[in-house]
């Protein structure tokens, strides 16, 4: 153990290893924090929940930070939801039963392009009389535009760009024939043509509640062309969820597969070498047969016919790798270690076979195995991603590979949604690179012969 610790200390000499370690630590933190902050069930619900969960998000929006690289900023997304307490209505009683509730949705709009869509979601609770809502749009330069009125049902959505009366009103207001509602609402009247007026907008909604028990919640959404840290996909889903949850999945898959396959193959090799005879021969033959069984087609077959659960895939990968070719490598080393005088000494003072395998054979080659495990991690991370890209990803869990698969089937690159593919791909590459950098440095520390190369 001391040797391993001092080996790890030697890692400091390798800047690549330090960078790799920092990246791994960050990935690990993300992998640990994500499931705590956003538990699995919640994540699955947010990813698989359906339109109702995602309806406030824009469709195919780029990440917000992409605006830093653009000369004209794309419209950002504005979500103001009274149900979440973003805005508090001012309530005044008018008569015995009737109250007036005034909502004021105020937001900054510093962008250069028009939002593709504006919707006011209204959900009301009432017995017989629906609450009645009047809307007024106030532009940064102080113009007030009557933006329609409606009676709210249990769930009503007011799509501004389908309001033909508002459209005609805006035609008069701007003097531009055939202007769409959204362009009309955001147009700067002092400029030639149709251009966005930047500044603070307000939508006032005055609601009349006719029953003492009735209540009303309003959510104003101005859909943008950029959204959040990671953007959204074709189903309005926030990619952040998939990128975050992809981390623990990738780490767990990679680490578990690498650790379990390495230690089982090592254990089997040690057992075979130590017991020898027909046991060793049987292990060797199984290994040889197993090594010509192709892993990927079996995974594809199981994924197509049985289940695509990521944990089932992990189990299969481990199962099929237990008798992997690693056994041959470890066997070669163990055959050498087996002849060490200290093994003879251990037998001479009565050590049992199991004790010799676990206390004398395996510890001897642990320093060789640690770099191998670290280098093996990314290959399993990539395997999981490959399965997902091939359409065999877990149907419930969002992973990096699933994102690439979705993007691929939706023609993301063809439509110019580069962020959709590049983000998960970059994470995969960074994770792989980090483990590789640490692994190669460990290899140099533990196999000093490599240092001269």
């Amino acid at each position: 153990m001391k040797g391993i610790l001092s080996g790890l200390r030697q890692l400091r000499q390798y800047p690549t290893a330090i960078i790799g370690l920092i990246v791994i630590v960050i990935l690990m933190i993300v992998a640990i924090v994500t499931p705590i902050v956003l538990p699995y069930n919640q994540a699955v619900k947010m990813w698989r929940g359906g339109e109702a969960v995602w309806r406030y998000y824009p469709r195919n929006a780029s990440p917000a930070w992409t605006n830093w690289f653009r000369s004209t900023d794309l419209a950002g997304t504005v979500i103001i939801d009274s149900a979440k307490g973003d805005v508090e209505p001012v309530i005044e009683p008018i008569s015995a039963d009737t109250r007036e509730a005034r909502f004021s949705f105020e937001f900054d709009f510093p962008y250069d392009t028009f939002p593709p869509e504006i919707i006011l979601f209204s959900s009301a609770a009432y017995k017989d009389k629906q609450p009645f809502v009047e809307l007024t749009w106030i532009t940064p330069d102080g113009r007030e535009i009557r933006a329609g009125e409606f009676s709210s049902g249990a769930s009503t959505s007011v799509r501004f760009d389908q309001d033909t009366r508002l459209q005609r009103r805006l035609e008069r207001e701007t003097g531009i024939k055939g202007i769409s509602v959204i362009k009309g609402l955001f147009d700067d009247p002092n400029k030639e043509g149709v251009q966005v007026l930047q500044g603070t907008y307000r939508l006032d909604a005055t609601a009349l509640l006719f029953e003492p028990e009735s209540s009303l919640d309003l959510a104003f959404v101005s859909y943008g062309k950029v959204y959040g840290i990671a953007g959204t996909d074709h189903q309005r889903r926030d990619l952040t969820i998939a990128l975050l949850w992809g981390t623990p999945i990738a780490m767990a898959f990679g680490l578990l597969a690498a650790l379990l396959t390495t230690f089982t193959t090592m254990g089997i090799a040690a057992f075979g070498v130590w017991i020898g005879g027909w046991v060793d021969a049987v292990i060797q033959r199984i290994t040889e047969v197993n090594s010509i069984i192709p892993l990927l087609p079996i995974l594809i077959m199981v994924g197509t016919l049985y289940s695509r659960s990521v944990w089932l895939m992990l189990g299969l990968v481990i199962l099929l790798s237990i008798f992997g070719l690693g056994i041959k490598n470890y066997r070669a080393i163990f055959l050498q270690v087996k002849e060490s005088p200290y093994i003879d000494a251990a037998r001479a003072y009565g050590a049992s076979d199991m004790r010799i395998i676990f206390r004398y054979l395996i510890p001897r080659i642990l320093p060789l195995v640690i770099p191998a495990i670290v280098i093996l991690v990314p290959s399993y991370v990539f395997l999981e991603a490959s399965l997902a890209v091939l359409g065999l990803g877990d149907p419930f869990v969002p992973t990096w590979g699933k994102l690439i698969n979705d993007a691929n089937t939706q023609g993301a690159l063809f439509s110019g949604y580069y962020y959709w593919i590049l983000q998960p791909a970059a994470l995969l590459m960074i994770a792989g690179l980090a483990f590789a950098m640490v692994g190669f440095a460990l290899d140099r520390v533990f196999n000093p012969r490599l240092r001269e190369l």
Binding site: Y349, G350, S352, P363, R364
Partner: protein
């Protein structure tokens, strides 16, 4: 095997039913396999060896590489299984011992190896190294283990103990490593110590110290010691008896001084001739060494195994018949036709 040897069973150092260690007509043959399963003969590493070792006695085994010393030693340790014959140690017959009992048998014999660095697991510190035999043999009490470690380290003069215990083998000098090996061999308080060239890998400067230490331990604990070496210059320190092995067989057996001062077998003569003696006169002397190589143990020569290399070979006798053990003087046995009353002629 010829049964001529049976006649001389009266000699108490060849057979003795009460002795601590009894080697009875021991054969250790390794099977050679063709294509992994077909039988292709045997390597006769140890062929019809017999001797006994009493409590508190030291015996040296001398011979060149490949003469079967190591196979003999490993069989005594219980690491090899006798093909024929038996090893009886402390009233336990090795050929009848299996499994758990075999492990207990092994743990009762201390084993000192040639290469001290190789003999210590590089990933364990001195404390774990010394604790291992005790843990394996069921000494669960930590204080008892601690007490034994302190006692034995005191005896092998590895002090201060607190500084030695956490050290790993590569942090110790060759002499210190060998002391740890000796301490490990002694920690189960064995009755028999098997020392396989314990000083051959050490610096000349520490050899004598280690040999003295072994001698001291042997006397204080009344140990039986089997000392195996190819170096005749170190045996004098040690043992009362000595036997010389050649091609898997004992060719000469005698008291130490008797054999060194008055060797009988032509092979022993050659060995002594070749051994280095710190004497300035020897610096320029050209040594006679037996021509040829040690024979193959798969197909050993017919008759006396030394006859192809023997300068005194008698045609028709040595290359045909296996020589009997002949007691030339009391307790001095030699397996050579030269000393046969009818057929031989003394050198």
């Amino acid at each position: 095997m010829s049964d001529v040897n049976a006649e001389i069973s009266a000699v108490d150092h060849i057979t003795n039913d009460q002795a601590l260690l009894q080697i009875k007509d021991l054969h250790v043959w390794y099977e050679l396999k063709r294509f992994g399963f077909g039988h292709a003969g045997y390597v006769r590493a140890v062929d019809n060896v017999r001797f006994v070792l009493e409590q508190g006695e030291a015996i040296a085994c001398v011979g060149e590489s490949g003469c079967g010393k190591s196979s003999l030693m490993k069989t005594i340790l219980g690491l090899n299984i006798p093909t024929k014959g038996d090893v009886i140690f402390d009233n336990t017959s090795l050929s009848q011992t299996k499994g758990e009992d075999l492990r207990r048998y092994r743990s009762k014999i201390g084993y000192i190896q040639q290469d001290p660095f190789g003999a210590l697991p590089p990933f364990m510190n001195v404390q774990s190294i010394l604790e291992e035999p005790m843990i394996i043999n069921g000494i669960k009490d930590k204080q008892e283990r601690r007490r034994r470690i302190e006692k034995i380290l005191e005896e092998v003069k590895l002090t201060p103990i607190e500084q030695v215990l956490p050290k790993f083998p590569h942090m110790l000098s060759g002499g210190q490593q060998q002391r740890v090996v000796i301490a490990r061999a002694m920690i189960m308080e064995p009755k028999l110590l098997v020392a396989d060239e314990p000083v051959s890998m050490l610096d000349a400067s520490v050899r004598v110290e280690i040999l003295r230490l072994l001698r001291k331990l042997q006397e204080e604990h009344h140990l039986a010691v089997l000392y195996i070496t190819h170096d005749l210059s170190t045996v004098r320190y040690f043992s009362e008896y000595i036997f010389v092995m050649y091609a898997g067989q004992i060719v000469e057996f005698a008291r130490m001084e008797d054999l060194l001062d008055n060797p009988k077998h032509p092979y022993t003569l050659a060995l002594l001739e070749a051994s280095s003696d710190p004497n300035a006169d020897n610096a320029l002397v050209q040594r006679e060494i037996p021509k040829g190589e040690p024979p193959s143990l798969v197909n050993p020569p017919k008759g006396c195994r030394f006859h192809p290399r023997c300068p005194y070979m008698m045609e028709g006798i040595c290359d045909v018949l296996e020589p009997p053990n002949i007691e030339v003087t009391p307790k001095h046995l030699v397996a050579c036709w030269l000393y046969d009353e009818e057929k031989g002629h003394a050198i």
